[in-house]
Amino acid sequence: MAAKFEPKITAFVCNWCTYAGADLTGTSRIKYQSNVRILRVPCTGRIDFMMVMKALHQGADGVIVSGCHPNDCHYTSGNYHARRRWMVFKKMMDILGVDMRRIAFSWVSAAEGAKWAQLVNEVTDQVRALGPYVEYRQLVGAGIE
């Protein structure tokens, strides 16, 4: 019998808010699904859109991008810049027909341990329902056509 599908979720989180928020989730002993692999970066402004694509390339079924709420950026404006980037990125993905249900964006502050748990659970459930990211896997495996 085939093993039940468990999605791999890659999360890019900023050091100052979401990473601390995820830490708080743990110290508050809030349980959440263990499908997420957290990658800590200095700031959401550091997250090149290609990092998201690389995660999918390497086998992630879903990606979370999360950082400080607007106005709370440790570096003042990194998240505002990131927001613009994602606004355009989303349009590009839309025209290319990439499945954006697999990429989630959020603001989670250092005080929002519960929100982090909820976010991970929601995204994991959704991606689990969608199944493995076959479309992208096929593309990666296609080789020279």
Binding site: H57, Y80, H81, M87, V88, V140, E145
Partner: protein
């Protein structure tokens, strides 16, 4: 045409410019760029419907800059590109003389503000074929769009003509050519092609002047220009700015407004 040739000769004779960029006869019915540096070359000049190439791509080349001040016989799309290059500080105000030909009238534009004014009266219309393709794409489901691009991009052989012909792709070292680390795969397999086109599209968002040169340059006819048109359009819609309309423009993705509106960040 005779008046234009005359004017080009004068410009060169008076040493107001060191070279004039225009078009000449190419293979078959095609036109190719012409760099006029002496009066003797002027007779090779051609200007007709078949002249479509965006000559602004040459204006930033080191070899052309070394010549000194140049004049460019230009279409509105070339003019938009020149203006955007000024906004991006790749050209100085007054570094190029724009020769805008409108019917029998030749306009000589030497400053950024005059160029802005000139372009303000031009509206760019989408080519009917492009319009049809965009409408077709808009009517498709997500899966169909994915299939469309998968099929289109499977023909791409990474010749980089789309990048090289683009007036806004002026980086001397492109991230595509960087192999340590290898950020984007060089091979033109399905995945490498998708990543290449994503990078190209994102890097041109808010900077594409919608000349369509990349699509025309593609030897296998992939409508890659539609990708950059879409991100350009989205920048215009969401941030209210448009490339190639003014010489003073902050790059849309290197600036922000505290109240930028989106609806997808949870």
């Amino acid at each position: 045409m005779e008046a234009l040739k005359q004017r080009v000769k004068e410009l060169l004779a008076l040493a107001q410019v060191k070279a004039v960029l225009g078009y000449t006869k190419g293979t078959g019915d095609r036109r190719r760029p012409l760099f006029i540096r002496a009066a003797g070359q002027v007779d090779q000049l051609v200007l007709d419907e078949a002249c479509t190439q965006n000559l602004a791509a040459y204006a930033t080349k080191r070899e052309v800059k070394q010549l000194g001040k140049v004049a460019v016989i230009s279409l509105p799309s070339t003019q938009r590109a020149l203006l955007q290059l000024m906004a991006e500080r790749q050209l100085r105000d007054g570094e190029v003389v724009v020769l805008a030909v409108d019917g029998s009238e030749i306009k000589e534009i030497t400053s950024a503000s005059a160029l802005e004014e000139h372009l303000a009266r031009k509206v760019t219309h989408l080519d009917s074929e492009d319009k049809a393709t965009l409408e077709r794409l808009a009517a498709m489901s997500r899966e169909e769009r994915w299939g469309f691009w998968r099929k289109e991009l499977s023909r791409c052989m990474k010749c980089y003509a789309c990048r090289n012909s683009c007036p806004m792709c002026y980086c001397e070292q492109c991230t595509m050519d960087c192999n340590r680390p290898q950020w984007v795969p060089v091979a033109s397999h399905a995945f490498g092609n998708l990543e290449y086109h994503m990078v190209r599209t994102m890097h041109l968002a808010g900077r594409c002047v919608e000349c369509g040169e990349c699509g025309r340059a593609c030897p296998v006819g992939i409508p890659v220009h539609l990708l950059t048109y879409c991100t350009e359009e989205s920048v215009h819609e969401q941030f209210g700015q448009c490339a190639g309309r003014t010489a003073k423009l902050d790059y849309a993705l290197a600036t922000f407004k505290a109240d930028d509106q989106e609806s997808f960040i949870r």
